[in-house]
Symmetry: D2
Subunit: 256 residues, 4 copies
Amino acid sequence: MIRAVVWNEGLHERDNAKVREIYPDGLHEAIAAGLRDPDGGEEIAAETALLTDPEQGLPEERLAETDVLLWWGHRAHEQVDDAVAERVQKHVLAGMGLIVLHSGHFSKPFLRLMGTSGTLRWRVAGEAGERERIWPVNPGHPIARGIDDHLVIEGEEMYGEPFGVPEPDETVFISWFQGGEVFRSGLCWNRGAGKVFYFRPGHETFPTYRHAGVLRVIRNAVRWAAPRGGRHAQKVWRVPAEQAPEPVWRTAEAAL
Amino acid sequence: MIRAVVWNEGLHERDNAKVREIYPDGLHEAIAAGLRDPDGGEEIAAETALLTDPEQGLPEERLAETDVLLWWGHRAHEQVDDAVAERVQKHVLAGMGLIVLHSGHFSKPFLRLMGTSGTLRWRVAGEAGERERIWPVNPGHPIARGIDDHLVIEGEEMYGEPFGVPEPDETVFISWFQGGEVFRSGLCWNRGAGKVFYFRPGHETFPTYRHAGVLRVIRNAVRWAAPRGGRHAQKVWRVPAEQAPEPVWRTAEAAL
Amino acid sequence: MIRAVVWNEGLHERDNAKVREIYPDGLHEAIAAGLRDPDGGEEIAAETALLTDPEQGLPEERLAETDVLLWWGHRAHEQVDDAVAERVQKHVLAGMGLIVLHSGHFSKPFLRLMGTSGTLRWRVAGEAGERERIWPVNPGHPIARGIDDHLVIEGEEMYGEPFGVPEPDETVFISWFQGGEVFRSGLCWNRGAGKVFYFRPGHETFPTYRHAGVLRVIRNAVRWAAPRGGRHAQKVWRVPAEQAPEPVWRTAEAAL
Amino acid sequence: MIRAVVWNEGLHERDNAKVREIYPDGLHEAIAAGLRDPDGGEEIAAETALLTDPEQGLPEERLAETDVLLWWGHRAHEQVDDAVAERVQKHVLAGMGLIVLHSGHFSKPFLRLMGTSGTLRWRVAGEAGERERIWPVNPGHPIARGIDDHLVIEGEEMYGEPFGVPEPDETVFISWFQGGEVFRSGLCWNRGAGKVFYFRPGHETFPTYRHAGVLRVIRNAVRWAAPRGGRHAQKVWRVPAEQAPEPVWRTAEAAL
């Protein structure tokens, strides 16, 4: 049983009737419902958290009991407390998985873990939508499991290269857009004991999180990112000279 | 001609007579002197910058004209302004090289670019020193040029694994310590258009920056990290639908 | 239940009394016994295969039902049929895990999968032995699970850098040797749908495969390398122009 | 002055009038002419070599004096001697650069260096052609220098993912195809002391090697891949116990 938490800023649903129509219970509930879908793989217990919750939904105790955190944010990246972003980063380094969705490329936790700009190309007035084709570059990767040939999303917002991220440890998907651009849409990084996966689709004005293939990828990613051992907090080891594994005193003497 | 700037917090030299005796002009001047050493390779123009300089030695205009920045810091990481660290990060992503030395593993610019903890193992009371052997893992790498077999430093402070950094793009050196530990002591990362090299040796109470092999590696690294084109600032490309490389209107219509 | 096969050339045990004394049933049986050790993790069903078996122990049907192959070879690399090496490579690319042990760095399957020389430094007359310390560089990695601080092997043959392999996808262990050298002793690569792990210790004249920590690492590695989906044979996709996902005829016409 | 050799199997030009019309002096001469184009960067001295030359154009002495080898092959991969492929591999590991063009993804030297299948998706009857857009994913990379936004080739053969190669050390370009596919069309790997770059475009029935942007990329790649030091042949270091950097005798004694 993998314990997942879907975090959402939850503002588009509040302010935009079109988004509310597509996701009446919020983007987070659509994603969580997808995680709960029994597909024969390891079971996922999915909860949700919102920017407006106490401690922005991510108190220390909750993160300590989360295997994989999913992050959807767009308009309110700056409203996320630095302390919350730092807390998420710390838990990822200690082993918690992190799935960053769509516009989360500019979120504080993602940028802190990447160290880069997160910049990209995008379609202004992209809400009209265009066709996206998501191609696996390694059909044998666990995150691509169950994808037959490639995924097609009829209407999505375009994101294009260059994408300002470090070279990934593994590239899983690349997207083709009708308008002529391409984007590395599924990327894996190891950071400390934790795994990070960025997955591109999911603009709020499209029913992308009801697309069976997209939800399958997200379930796959949660299982891939779940820690397989306990947490390993990053720490400093102080080793006094007299406790060194091998004797060092002679050099010390010589150095005097 | 490569334009290098050696940044140093400059506090140990001020407060510690032993350090002052080894480096009467400061660690930065010893490193800069090493960079100026004519060894037949591309010439390096080396300047220095100090924490106590105006704008902590690194105003925007200066970074804009710097090819490679070298960073030595230890006690005063917290005194470095976040704005300065962010500025350094921005210039690295746009193409400036960055060489992080020794205790700079905990410096703000390095941690911002890595996204990890920078934690490691170290010898308490390590100032007595022990022998370090620095082995190239790829003798053909440009940063290992001119190293005959391996480098030996008779007295240094031990740093040991685990080192809390992302998997490097290239591992160049690994250190053996007399006390029984090992450390990945020369590591390369690409970040945006810039290159980052971490090089381990250089505790302030040892004459490490007078060691010919260590200085050779640092010169090699500066030449490796120097940008070979102009700067490429990370940016967002906004592409209106009517300016997409290929027509997208039909999908847009279909989506309405 | 993971199906593992331990392959061994089996010649040292036949010809050398000292090796036979340490491993009366052969190196392969010692390794297989380690895999069968119930440690609370996923169960491993371990079989063995020998160079002298029909089809050198690795017929097509057997590889097709093997999740993870372990390889110990030293003297007889050249005796392994090219067809067997190619078959192993093909199954790894399709998803079979491969654990290459010690002197397997020069084996045909490993060199075929790496594309490099596999060269390294070693201690002549190394059979006298020296102390090896195996340090995790990422204690949170699944292959390092259960290792407390680091492993110590009192007597082993030294292998030192430079090790002629591609930069690994993940570095898990680095070894310290009493004689002054270091070696990247636990390295991971993804190749196609398969995972490859090289693990250094295991010279035939030492009881290394009775060392609890070494056996723990090998069990961890088998679980890490086991494929989590079916096989994905590498293949060519031929897509006729009229079956392209999007229409291509207009360009074709324009090109005439 | 970089010494480059453009190798070509040279059969399509001989047998196909359309190819001969586009490349009357052969694909190799078109590529070599592009390398000689003075663009203000480091000068490249370009020679050519053919499958039909003595020793298939690549005798040991010639490779020893070659900085970067470019490879175009398609129909005759099997005719390349294993000894020639092994020789190329050896020189790459020692520092020679290798640029593999288009259908060279199935060439012996490339597959030997990658260790993977080189398989991909392609358009049957692709000679009608379709539009390809080649996007830089890192505009600051030296191989992308001088590319304004992206390259457009009006008619090319489609290659699509999955591409059976190891995760690259750096991804430089990704291609968009009119027919709906994507492909990682510019990929970098370090192998030993040498650098390998795969660049996708260049089907023989299109005038791709007269496209200014394509030729610019190839020149950039040659400069990137040129070795910056001497050759470093991969070798084994044998270190007798009595010549170990640190004394090992005591453990040896203890082990008896």
